[in-house]
Amino acid sequence: MPLSDLFAPVKLHIPDGFLSPLVSVVGWVLAVAAIAYALRQTRGQLGSKQIPLMGVLAAFIFAAQAINFPVAGGTSGHLLGGTLAAIILGPWAAVLVMTAVIGVQALLFQDGGLLVLGFNIVNMGVLTAFTGHFLYQALKRMLGTGRSSLLAAGAVGAWLSVIVGAMATAVELAFSGTTPLGVALPAMAGVHVLIGIGEALITVGALGFIFATRRDLLDLGEKAPAKATANWVGVGLGFALLVAIFSFAASRQPDGLERVAEDTGFLGTALDPNYKLLPDYTIPFIGNELLSGILAVVVGTLVVFGIGWVVARIQAKSAA
């Protein structure tokens, strides 16, 4: 059996060619910043254990992605792993572990491109780790540290982390002009609402097993630097938002083909209202494209976090 069959690609791996050069560069800037900071944080946290622990756990995530279970209609659920790693190791260590996993998948198995690797790391490593970490910690504070509340917190964290990663992928594809945001965001979010359930089930199963056999491991993530982390991530997310808005504005410039069209004068005829059935990036009833594009992103994010909040409340009630 070839390895590529064993490690079926997770559908979030963006191949080369699907992101524009500008978007790829933005992804690398974000990824490099996250990795550099993660390297410093984990060195302080783990000392000389850093390299062997991170390396072996990266191999573990890679291997664990091969453990799948049949869901329905020939599809199977399996792990992405960002949340599980973040719960066991803390978010920064999880960023490194996931970077190694995603990097090797791209270098060795061509799962995901090399130029777009920056955003693949951000989507599947950084965003999943931090979404999972924050939700897990917040829900644990709300629900307590009993078995069922830990599992509920892990489930919500894992589920939403996959959705957030998928939404980020959709936004990047839209910025690159590969697909309109109005199509990509609901499609990616919708599919991953389902895929996220598989992630949640496996994460819960794994947490339950670890809780029963070596509970001390679940406290390791607690010792990870948390306060400095939270502040930094706040700054980082603000920065990411700025970059997103900036690059959205930049991507509104006509690309090469459209410029030619403009110069030769057929853009006027090309922009027939009939072709505006699925208007790029925009919510139709808002005039300003830039404004409504950004609004579409914000609304999508709010909807997902709203769902997460409601689920968390329900879980909290059932756990109490």
């Binding site: 254990k49 756990l57 191999a59 453990i67 572990v97 697909t179 199509v183 199963g205 072709y275």
Partner: protein, 261 residues
């Protein structure tokens, strides 16, 4: 079953195999950058890039069809761009119900597929002709953070060990949850199956964690102090220099053709 036999690297002594890993990394990255930067619908430069990938494939001694066969891995992702023919405004070609396929949209869609396809091919050729430890050495020589490279090296070292453990767990599950003649019905509901898979992942977590502790102890016993030491990096050979110069010239010409004509 030991899956370390399924590594991607193919031994050989061709010119491409003998190039410095740094040369191959930089060359591949520049190739992908060129493919990404090219405007949509630049068919001649796309053809040149594809021809270059065929020439490189032929020079590796593995044959031109070799990389082609594996190069469809990125194809499922084409779904992400499938809306382009319908949403990009332009000259209408055909109608599908309420949707119009535009020529401009089709060009954009085809361009993305071709760019992605040639990029994957070049990446495959790089991995097939360079052993992974060499690739890691090249990354480190290109100033990637040494700690990150060390983490990836450890990952690669234990990848196959842990994948074997994962396979053993999967085999044990298959043996216990006896599939009937109707293979679609095995085990309980989806939630139950998910929890079983989760338990296996938890099991693997502990094995990985405890293994990493043993590895760390063994390293400390041999004098490890938290720092990976490396030999000096040698200079690039003349063959590497001329290969890189030729490659960059070719890519620059391709870009020039793409943007001027």
């Amino acid at each position: 079953m030991h899956i370390n036999l399924a590594d991607q690297h193919h031994r050989g002594s061709s010119l491409i195999h003998r190039l410095d890993p740094r040369t191959k990394l930089i060359g591949t990255l520049l190739f992908i950058v060129a493919a990404t930067v090219l405007p949509p619908g630049a068919w001649l430069p796309y053809g040149l890039l594809f021809a270059a990938s065929l020439v490189v494939a032929q020079r590796t001694g593995l044959g031109t069809g070799f990389a082609l066969r594996r190069s469809f891995v990125a194809l499922p992702f084409a779904l992400a761009a499938i809306t382009l023919p319908f949403t990009v405004p332009g000259e209408g070609l055909a109608r599908l119900g309420p949707l119009t396929i535009s020529a401009e949209g089709l060009v954009r869609f085809a361009s993305i597929l071709i760019k992605s396809w040639v990029s994957v091919q070049m990446a495959i050729l790089m991995t097939y002709t360079t052993a992974f430890p060499e690739l890691l050495w090249g990354l480190r020589a290109l100033r990637l953070p040494p700690t990150l490279v060390a983490i990836i090296s450890f990952m690669y070292r234990y990848l196959f060990v842990l994948a074997d453990e994962a396979l053993r767990l999967t085999r044990a599950r298959a043996a216990r949850s006896g599939a009937g003649a109707d293979r679609r019905r095995t085990g309980g509901g989806v939630v139950w199956r998910g929890k079983v898979a989760g338990g296996m992942v938890g099991n693997l977590t502990l094995r990985a964690f405890e293994r990493s502790e043993r590895i760390h102890d063994a390293m400390v016993a041999r004098g490890y102090q938290g720092e990976m030491r490396m030999l000096d990096t040698p200079h690039l050979h003349d063959a590497d220099r001329s290969a890189l110069v030729g490659w960059v010239t070719f890519l620059a010409m391709t870009l020039l053709i793409g943007f001027v004509f």
